[in-house]
């Protein structure tokens, strides 16, 4: 039953300085009270005891009342000494007194159910918890702070205004209402569509920030791709040997470049081959390289890249230690030019990351695209003599799509998916 009192360890499991156990529910205070002489108002130091009187720990106890807590219901936090044995015994005692261990994401779910967070904020929170790089952290914070909700609210306001103008011409004929509302409706809709299109463009960048950019190192066999990767990653990730065609599969290395999560791909050398296994490797390499966000082409001096570079791709001369003092060359072996290459990659990726707005998920994008499509249809129809009732209907549809961004409607299907990305107690 959803109304019962739940508890869980809110910090990472294992030995640590502090371990926090969170209790939430109508009877949180009563449940916590079973472990201590009295639950403090606000905060206080308390001895926790098991039902047979054994001291479990000396804990800092924080008590939050209803609306002030994260979940929107009474919450007690027990700040314990971070020993797994202590934590285990406290959790055991809580369960013994009738509490229920929280399911994955249940605290956040309650926050959502009690209107403390909107859906986009919940997504931001999920990302915040998982954030590893600085850019991920900042992005998650933007969303968690409600940036997308605020934007959607503004779009909604503008769309409602547009709908109201059209409704006025329908429901109040014969009265003193403006006859031609087309200019204002058109201006409002255009503004919303433009705002959405910026955000839609930013989703791809935001997804990259969250999931990491992919940078493929591409080149002919034995040009030194794997050595370069190892140099960049600082460890022996790819097998490097002097025999051409060693890297038959795609090797991935994750790293943090200037605060951005980046996955480096070391691909098989691209060349004609009769070796079936290697041929598979080559076609896979081409495929992955095509899908990567950025390609670094390693070429021999004076040679052309194996594939056609697109804007932003980098072409550098490999094995620069052997090629002599090359201006735009690198050597994985000696480290020559590595810093300059990292600098170039980082600059390019940061420029792309800069496009990210507050919409960060495919879900946001598809809702905005749907709304945007409706709006375009209305804009076209406005000048096309389409009956007002149909215009109004399309605007209503756009409003609903906007609502979906922050999860006002049609949330049922999304919730399970979203909550399944949470760990217990967060």
């Amino acid at each position: 039953m959803a109304g019962d009192t739940i508890f869980a360890l809110a910090t990472a499991a294992g030995r640590a300085g502090v371990a926090i156990v969170r209790i939430s529910g109508r009877d949180a205070s009563a449940l916590a009270g079973q472990l201590m002489s009295s639950v403090p108002v606000g905060r206080g130091l308390r001895e926790l005891r098991s039902s047979d009187g054994v001291i479990l720990d000396q804990a800092l106890v924080l008590s939050f009342v209803g609306d002030a807590s994260f979940t929107g219901e009474p919450v007690i936090e027990l700040h314990l000494h971070g020993s797994p044995a202590i934590v285990r015994s406290v959790l055991f005692a809580l369960e013994g007194h009738g509490g229920r261990p929280a399911e994955a994401g249940e605290f956040t779910r309650r926050a959502l159910e009690n209107g403390k967070l909107d859906l986009a904020q919940v997504e931001g929170l999920a990302d915040l918890i998982d954030a590893e790089t600085e850019a991920q952290r900042r992005q998650a914070l933007r969303v968690f702070a409600g940036g997308l909700g605020a934007l959607a609210e503004e779009w909604r306001r503008q769309l409602i205004r547009a709908a109201a103008l059209i409704e006025a011409t329908i429901d109040f004929v014969d009265e003193d209402v403006p006859v031609d509302v087309t200019p204002e409706v058109s201006a409002l809709l255009t503004a919303v569509r433009d705002g959405m299109s910026t955000q839609i463009d930013g989703v791809a960048a935001a997804e990259r920030i969250r999931d990491g950019f992919e940078v493929a190192i591409v080149g002919a066999p034995n040009i030194g791709k794997s050595t370069l990767l190892n140099r960049l990653a600082g460890r022996d990730a790819a097998i490097t040997s002097e025999v051409a065609g060693t890297t038959r599969d795609v090797i991935e290395v994750q790293m943090d470049l200037g605060g951005l999560a980046v996955t480096l791909l070391d691909t098989a050398g691209i060349r004609q081959t009769t070796d079936i296994v290697e041929e598979i490797g080559v076609s896979r390499a081409i495929d992955r390289a095509n899908h990567a966000d950025l390609r670094v082409f390693l070429v021999a001096k004076g040679a052309a890249p194996a594939m056609k570079p697109v804007a932003g791709d980098l072409v550098v001369v490999g094995k620069a230690d052997l090629a002599g003092n090359e201006e735009f060359g690198v050597s994985g072996l000696t480290g020559l030019g590595i810093d300059a290459l990292v600098g170039k990659i980082t600059t390019e990726l940061q420029a792309r990351a800069g496009l990210a707005g507050v919409a960060i998920r495919a879900r946001h994008r598809s809702a905005m695209e749907q709304a945007s499509e409706q709006i375009s249809a209305v804009l076209a129809a406005l000048h096309d003599d389409v009956p007002a009732d149909l215009l109004a209907e399309d605007i209503r549809h756009a409003i609903r799509a906007v609502d979906m961004v922050v999860g006002r409607v049609d949330v049922e299907d999304l919730l399970d998916e979203i909550f399944s990305s949470f760990c217990i107690g967060k």
């Binding site: 039953m1 959803a2 109304g3 019962d4 529910g25 109508r26 209803g66 609306d67 929107g72 219901e73 779910r109 309650r110 959502l112 159910e113 009690n114 209107g115 409704e167 011409t169 329908i170 429901d171 109040f172 004929v173 014969d174 003193d176 003599d385 389409v386 009956p387 007002a388 009732d389 149909l390 109004a392 209907e393 209503r396 549809h397 999860g407 006002r408 409607v409 949330v411 049922e412 919730l415």
Partner: protein, 623 residues
Amino acid sequence: MFHVKHFDVVIVGGGHAGSEAAWAAAQMGASVALVTLRREAIGIMSCNPAIGGLGKGHLVREIDALGGLMGLAADAAGIQFRLLNRTKGPAVRGPRAQSDRVLYRDYVQNALSELENLSIIEGEATDLRVENDEVTGLILADGSEIATRNVVLTTGTFLRGVIHIGDVSRPGGRVGDAASVAMAERLEGFDLPLGRLKTGTPPRLNGRTIDWSKLEMQPGDTDPSLFSFMSDGAMAHQISCGITHTNAETHDIIRENLSRSAMYGGHIDGVGPRYCPSIEDKVVRFADKDSHQVFLEPEGLTTDTVYPNGISTSLPADVQERYVRSMYGLENVEIEQMGYAIEYDYVDPRALRLSLELKSCPGLFLAGQINGTTGYEEAAAQGLVAAVNAVRRARDQDSVTFSRKDSYIGVMVDDLVGRGVAEPYRMFTSRAEFRLLLRADNADQRLTTLGRDIGTVNDARWAAFNRKSEQIKKGNEVLAKVDLTAREIAGTGAKLNVDGPKRTALDALTLNDFGFDALYQIRPELPDIDRKIAEQIKNDALYAHYIRRQEKDIAAMAKDEATVIPFSTNYAEIGGLSAELVQKLNAARPESLAQARRIDGMTPAALLVLSGYLKRLDSRQVS
């Protein structure tokens, strides 16, 4: 002991809600009494002598589709028919007609007097007999008593009504009628949430003193759109209205005397409708406009009284006279009856179930202006709903409720019961989320079968309905077999790609700019299809794509409506609901998940909690 008469249902009030209620209950074969202050005032139009309009016209069509009285009376009394929004898409077209006040009243009185199972009783209802919290009878001012388990109260603006003209005020239910005070006090005893609303009416003019030669005239439609599915054409002689305007002088006079207006001088506390502002309101709120349109609508064929639409007021008599005469054409006009504002009690409709029965007093139904609405059509529609359910209660049958997805009636009742009112409630088309489906032209397709099941649709109407449905079906079949090339369709002027695939005629009709005229132009050999049938087929086709898109929403609403919330639910016990929502749910006691969804402040997450709870409850009951 003297003999106490017994009726299945007793209706109190012979206004528009009461008349419709009496008619419906009698159609169902129940024994019905209609108790009203004055027999000759039954069916009187207190204000504007017109029926229909946007949203309101839809309501009248629905009442008619259910076998009601209002559409028939409005057609019989209509002296100028106009279809509003003719150019704006069939879903938002609203039939409206000006009525001859006398013809209208006479039609209603005759129709009711012919009903053998209806007794009309003149008198003031002052008290209700209640035993074990349920109604058992009605008590009149003369002390007599009527035994009944079902009372429908439709007392309109009469509950503690106060009429204001300038700074003069006196009790009254409307001009010429006393207020109902005893009944208001009785309701107060039920501990019902009562509120105060106000509305106004303009002065009435003597048409013989208007200089019509100076005025622009507005005729009705040459091809009138009637209200009833049973009517063929206008019955009364048709007339035109005059149009004049307020001007700078009019506005000056009003502005100088604002402090003497009942509404602006602080004599009235009730809330008035924003969409039906008094002339004082218009002058203050739209200060930049120096002129407003005024329609001069004759109140009938046999009277000289003219209703000036657009200048309702509560200014003192001398000011009314001056500002009216400042308008062209009205320089020498005589006022027959001063404009006035009226303030009255209403019951917060959130105290009602969807059947319009009071939650706290089984057997007591409320309908009409007493529920915070305004307008004849809104009142009549509620009268019908309440009467049907009162009769069903008398017969121990389940209540019949109307859904937002089926009718404007459903939209209105759900709005009232779920949301309450902040100002006098009137219908607009924009209140209906499924507006494209709830059209005036298909009200019969939506509701007549239901009316037949309930017992309000008589044999003649049922036969006519079946004939029409059969014709529509046949028409659709014929049109589905006719193939047209894109080039042929485009040749009639419709915008589409000439190289596109061929379409059936039915499919081509979904195009906004392709109608039956164009179809006959390229396929003159097609059999004739009756104009009304053709219109309905075209409208259905026009909205087909949109309606398909809404089907998911409609299904979701149906599911929510079917998820019943027990009256006794203890919301605090569910958990996961904020204290504020628990309080709101406790106050509202929604009957279904659909109603809960519309409670102000309801979050999707809270709905999930609620539906989860109901699911568990359901499975527990099954196992």
